[in-house]
Amino acid sequence: MKAKKLAALALGLGTACMTVAGLGMAASAEEGKKEVVIWDYFETDAQKQMMQTLIDGFNESQDEFTASHTYVPFADYEKQLTLGIASGQLPDLVILDGCGMASFIQLGLFGDISDADINWDEYIAGPLESTMMDGKHYGIPFATNCTALYYNKDLFDAAGVAYPDENTTWDDFREMAKALTKDGVFGFGNAATNTDEGTFQCLQWLYTAGGSYTDIESGVDAYTLMQEMIEEGSWTKECVNWTQSDVNNNFMAGNIAMQQNGPWQIPGIEANAPDLNYGVTVLPKRNADAGQATSILGGENMGVVNKEDMSGAKAFLQYYDQTDVMVEAMKLYGSYPPKTEAAKDSYWTDDPIQKAFLTQIETSIPRGPSALWPSYSSAIQTGFQEVMTSAKTPEQAAADTQAAVDAIG
């Protein structure tokens, strides 16, 4: 049955597909106006409010189009898009994880909108690159963020350890984590689950060590650090099954003294653990002589679905391209606008926690971009899991992961 089911899915048949069709048509059109349907996977109240504010603003700003949005669960998002391509049941605009965009451009989901009236040169290079292929534009970055180092001030004070800052090196970080690990508390935790969510968090250690997604062996020091810290017990092994929300829940509960996580967790911490006394700084750097640690860019892009009439989608992008619209939306969303100037709003620069993330973004790089990113991600994350569970030595895991990565390209 599973074989049959998969076959049905692969062909764009079956119920899932009909659901998509139903969703696509759910939007109601106002008299005489052209519809612009947007898909997103936003779940929190703040995110939903942000989308509604954007859509209301767009609908009031002009008379030609009326926008609406449809929620598709994140776990099914890429599957539904793939099925949509096969069946032709697609929205006009898709908000999706930046690292998945290259694959979907290659799959033919998005249309060339290089002629749209967008201020391309105002965007931060990394996120903009992830919306392009062969010099053509297929959308614009929607939000940008990265992970940084959260620390629980109370736990640091109790252990008599100084807070981490921009000068903290890997060695300092390891000593801190060791000193904080006691009474059921782990020094550090991050998300290392068996999906791209794990790759997103683990990959920065490899880059900071001098490697890259195609050059694993130069980053073997990251493997060594992870394995040794997990064996010492100061980096929790539990993270092999942790998603980013799992990590944040454990940080809020005081089970881990430091976490690697993104700014989108801040609203959740404020709501669920308002008394948590915490700070955020950049991720630890390789050594005293090295520059700031590399982080991996996260965030969403807006891609325009390839249709004969893409005017509505382009109009929405042009509306969002206005810096003040973008800034207001991102304040609600808990991420940063993908424009260099827009991110300099005092809302972010006056807040030490937000400022730490903005500093970290300066040395952040995108995943890929490559249409084969999902295959790279899967191979790379297997390597991290091998090291973290001590299934292989760092050297062996590096050699094997390198071979796996080489076989992809």
Binding site: M1, K2, A3, K4, L6, A7, A8, L9, A10, L11, L13, G14, E78, K79, T82, I85, S103, Q106, L107, G108, G184, T193, N194, T195, K237, E238, V240, N241, N255, A371, L372, P374, S375, S378, A379, T382, Q385, E386, T389, A391, A403, A404, A407, I408
Partner: protein, 318 residues
Amino acid sequence: MAERHTRYAYKEGHAMKRKRKLAGGAKMGFLFALPAAVYMLVFIGYPMIQNLILSFKNVDVFSFAQPQNQKFIGFQNYIELFTSSNSILTKSIINTLIFTVGSIFFQFIIGFGLALLFNKKFPGCSFFRGMTMISWLLPVTVAGLLFKFMFASSGGIINQFLMALNLIDAPMEWLLKPGTAMVAIVIANIWIGIPFNMMLLITGLTTIPADIYESCSLDGANKVQTLFKITIPMIKPAIMSVLTLGFVYTFKVFDLVWVMTKGGPINSTELVSTYAYRLSFEEFQFSKGAAAANVLFLILLVVGIFYIKLINEEEESM
């Protein structure tokens, strides 16, 4: 001789009558079968054939949008799945076999034990029998999440329980180590599958006439003898059905593993079903995913043919 002759004549006449009846009712019969046939053709036949065709092509992230670049490449996908160093198909088939055999063995033993128990009449019998169905009624994703929490290294109830009994000194890393992760998903699946085994076996047990047991006890057979000489041979058809259906159901399990481990750590719980999904919908290697799904299908087809043969034999012997 005369008697035999008349019996033959009767049989022949009966067969002819049946033939005539069939010819007359054939149109009606086909008409009744039509909806099922059309359904099978459209929703099962068509996707299966398309999936087979897809598995012999080179459809991936690069050729998906360019039909002119989609070429037939014969068995290339299958060969790569079995030989490429980046492919874990062989590993996932072995994992699936371990998962299936481990699950069915214990599901059957425990299910059979419970079936024998609930076949006896005792106060509250039907209530407790109903209660055991809960694990079968619970959505698999919910059961998967529950077991994920229960097997958590720190704070998981299973570790706390084992530590309280002094069976282990330190928390076990159930879902974090390749060997124990497999054990954990097998345990979860056993729990889910016990009621299925139990109910089918109870149905089998109720078909054994009580007088057989009576004459048994008169002949002085003890409990063990009765079990192995009477009960098990009498419900052999039910046992074979449970085992083959259980094999098919377990071999294609997807949601439980996806929720508990996503195939990790280090692909140690990757089953053929999760691998096929990963190839198609995460890595966009549609043709390879189709090929992996077909391998799963082929294995189940063999089991299915075995099952149909079994059913036919049973019907003939009745």
